[in-house]
Symmetry: C2
Subunit: 233 residues, 2 copies
DNA sequence: ACAAGATTAAAACATGTGTTTAAATCGTCC
DNA sequence: GGACGATTTAAACACATGTTTTAATCTTGT
């Protein structure tokens, strides 16, 4: 099926073919995440990978199939780096919710966690033909595990109420991915004194504090607990 | 300052100059909203406006300044079509929150309400040089009015807690703009039977139901009320 | 009616894109 | 060592883009 006819049983640990293919995938993840599918140029990707401009077309066929493979690689590595927390792993559904939120927020906003979050956001902003694949492979399982947690937290409500609450939870997280450019622009504006005095300054927070806040806010919204009054210790 | 040296005191109600300039702005709003700044081509915009390919450069200088003017026009028309609900207009802060949410959701997701919501989302997904302008002119006032409402609803909390809650409220709304392509793709997938049986089907809801849900969820999250148990009548 | 200026129109320019082609290079096996 | 296939390289192709240019057309004031 595949075209790996040569260098199959070689004694060398890292064959050259996988070398540049791997470098292309790495560069593709970076640049597709930075610039999006349309704005990322094959020449730029090949340049960062230290390969010729025709390397992508040789190894992957065309830009679209290369992009699809980049998405698949992203998904695979993100999920094997840290598996998604499931309801069955916890005694209390509230703990499962907090763990899920921490996992989701990290994937979305922490750069070191891989570019899957950025690529998902880009695919939502302007979809390509690879959106269906991304939904089936990445998004649906994430939402499925969260739905189990939400269902355990509100067992007496019907599916539509659960879906609305699930979306309220997910929306709070997605905000911190989509608003990142706004944060940066606000920081820039506030340094140059271009902000009106009355405007409330929105600030970035660490993932742990975010997960704690969204957990409390959502548990209250779901009707599980009354929100704690604390916050400033 | 401006270059309107001719046709100034004409008796004609709709001078030709404003005709094509207005048509260009209209087509620009549509196509920039559909395809984003980079992917929208000047030729396509001029074609939809029934103008020559050089019309944009003649009337606005270049693509960037044209885009900035489109954003400004969008903002102006969206806000004069329906003013933003303010805290002072309501007796109860909860009513103000519900009205604000309804206004924000409509701007974000209802096509007839103008393309400002789409353009804001696009500018967040991959920013251009016009993001600062959009923040100062459109986003900051929206968030300012919401902050007043949130502050009235949680008078005993500090600014950081209020900001976190504000972002939780905004995130729930933004979800329904950013997830729209996912909704459409899910609908397509479910019709072709490509969805696994266990996957929870996320459905679109009307703006009024959304506003009600987010109001209840958020009031509970803010610690104002315990969420009602009802939902299915 | 005429002339001046604003507006349109068509064509060309420079540039960047994805992709293909053809030759050169490399690695491996007989 | 030499030959064969996989890989890399450089060049070219076809096309789309934003912008500029030049001439034509329209509008208006006198």
């Amino acid at each position: 099926m595949t075209k790996t006819t040569a260098l199959e049983g070689s004694t060398v640990e890292a064959p050259k073919e996988l070398q540049t293919k791997e470098r292309l995938l790495q560069a593709g993840m970076e640049i597709f995440a930075e610039r999006g599918f349309a704005d990322a140029s094959i020449r730029q990707i090949c340049s960062r990978a230290g390969a010729n401009a025709a390397a992508v077309n040789y190894h992957f066929g065309d830009k679209q199939r290369f992009y699809a493979e980049v998405l698949a690689t992203c998904h695979l590595r993100a999920w094997q780096r840290r598996p998604i927390p499931r309801l069955a792993d916890f005694d209390e559904p509230g703990d499962a919710l907090r763990a899920w939120l921490r996992w989701f927020l990290e994937m979305l906003t922490v750069d070191g966690a891989g570019p899957l979050g950025r690529l998902m956001a880009r695919e939502m902003a302007d979809p390509t033909t690879a959106l269906d694949q991304l939904i089936l492979r990445s998004m649906a399982p994430m939402m499925g595990t969260l739905y189990e947690i939400v269902a355990a937290l509100m067992p007496h409500r019907d599916g539509e109420a659960r879906n609305l609450c699930l979306q309220s939870v997910v929306g709070q997280c997605l905000f911190y991915r989509h608003a990142q450019p706004v944060f940066e622009s606000l920081e820039r504006l506030s340094q140059s004194g271009g902000l009106p005095p009355g405007a409330p300054l929105i600030l970035q927070v660490e993932v742990d504090r975010l997960a704690d806040h969204i957990t409390q806010f959502s548990l209250a919204g779901l009707g599980v607990t009354a929100p704690e009054d604390g916050g400033s210790p």
